[in-house]
Symmetry: C2
Subunit: 257 residues, 2 copies
């Protein structure tokens, strides 16, 4: 059965980090609901679709989630093929699960199409190997605070031996730093702060757990940014001159069968 | 500067989960070194390349890492465009960082191209929202034991409030279950065990922390498999009938500019 709705991860920014499956679905969609973190260049792949912007625009408040869900439902019930396009991966802090559940509860079938999540792309773009042997036991993707107001258990995270990758953390740098220091993480633990990962305008600031708040201020770090905290954050496994830069001057790649 | 070597993530199995960037690089490569976890259908994108298999084949021991690295270097120094193709993402338990560092140290430039990592793809394919609000503070990707023999800090992980996604854990189910129970994780914590994620032959077994070893044996769970441990592992946000199945009967998608 073909789904009525695709929930699609647009990846971190570079349009070439879209999956083939995402490009194929975007090319078939009649209407695409576009989140604010999606690079406009990705929309080149929406060949025939009406584009509906549902993210924060120009300082306005974000479109309410309930409204977005009702909009998807309305389009799907009109028989249209609907794509919901989100930055990164729909199920990594993207509310893809909530939207899929709500659609299923309302009798609309959907398919979730993975995207490269921003945290992994940001690290790769800076030459940081998140799970490097001997340096990390794994990697934890986390937000600095959840929408229900609860905080992560920083003590458990500090103990875990995993590299921490923090999404949506720019406004919480001081809190994070204090909590992780209080949890026993070393003051000189390396930190990398990566702004606009995978785009030509990407910037990175290397620091330490104790200095990150001050260094981020001097760097004028802006959202969206990803933080990498752990020994691997001092690595750069390839030279900066070799860092991939999207070649936007090239024509967009097209799919054919 | 164009890289001499691409370290490419092939994703979890479904060829449509390749990124455009990966397909483009594979199409330009002169030689492709292929890992054993790569779906052979992905190799359709290697238009002009000599294929060299460097993974475990038919019970033989894996090609030594040092040999693979020297092979990449030799091809690159011949002026060939070399692609190293790995399952999942090169930097999530894929040794991509080690290979990139080694090549850089030997004067060979390289670019790492992200892939959809198996753990995230497996969860999505089963309708499990890894970071669902109110159920998880984030997600931790981990292996059951590292190659240097050390174990993760299960107590820290149990405390972290994150969903645990365990790679290469089939042989360690009993150890993991015991350690997490000893660390205070509830016996009825949901567990999903997902074999061959994203392929048509994908199978999943839902269980609990206390019952996972017994249930996996009854299910005859085989590697490669991914485990999801945490409250979200009881979810299925879309119906099983709607689960995406790769349409291998279709011709492979091609890129054009």
């Amino acid at each position: 059965m073909n789904p009525n709705v695709w929930l699609i991860g647009a990846g971190p920014g570079d349009p070439e980090l879209l999956t083939l499956k995402a490009v194929k679905a975007l090319g078939q969609a009649d209407v695409v609901l576009v989140d604010d973190l999606v690079n406009p260049l990705v929309l080149d792949y929406c060949a025939q679709a009406r584009l509906v912007y549902v993210g924060k625009r120009g300082g306005c408040r974000s479109t309410p989630q309930a409204f977005i869900q009702r909009l998807i439902l309305r389009y799907a019930r009109l028989g249209l093929r609907v794509a919901r396009l989100k930055g990164g991966d729909p199920c990594i802090f993207g509310r893809g699960g909530e939207e899929a559940q709500w659609l299923t509860d309302h009798g609309v079938s959907c398919e979730i199409i993975n995207g490269i999540t921003a945290g992994l792309a940001a690290a790769t773009a800076c030459g940081i190997p998140l799970t490097q042997r001997g340096m990390a036991q794994g990697v934890t993707l986390i937000t600095a605070h959840s929408q229900d107001g609860t905080m992560p258990d920083w003590t458990g995270l500090a103990r875990s031996g995993t590299t921490l990758v923090v999404y949506m953390g720019v406004a919480k740098l001081h809190d994070m730093s204090s909590q992780l220091l209080a949890a026993g993480m070393a003051a000189d633990t390396p930190v990398a702060m990566i702004e606009r990962a995978s785009l030509a305008s990407q910037r990175e600031c290397r620091s330490t757990l104790a200095a990150m708040t001050r260094d981020a201020a001097a760097f004028q770090l802006q959202s969206p940014a990803v933080l990498v905290i752990g020994r691997v954050a001092a690595c750069q496994v390839f030279g900066a001159a070799d860092a991939p830069v999207p070649a936007y001057a090239e024509p967009a790649l097209r799919l054919s069968a």
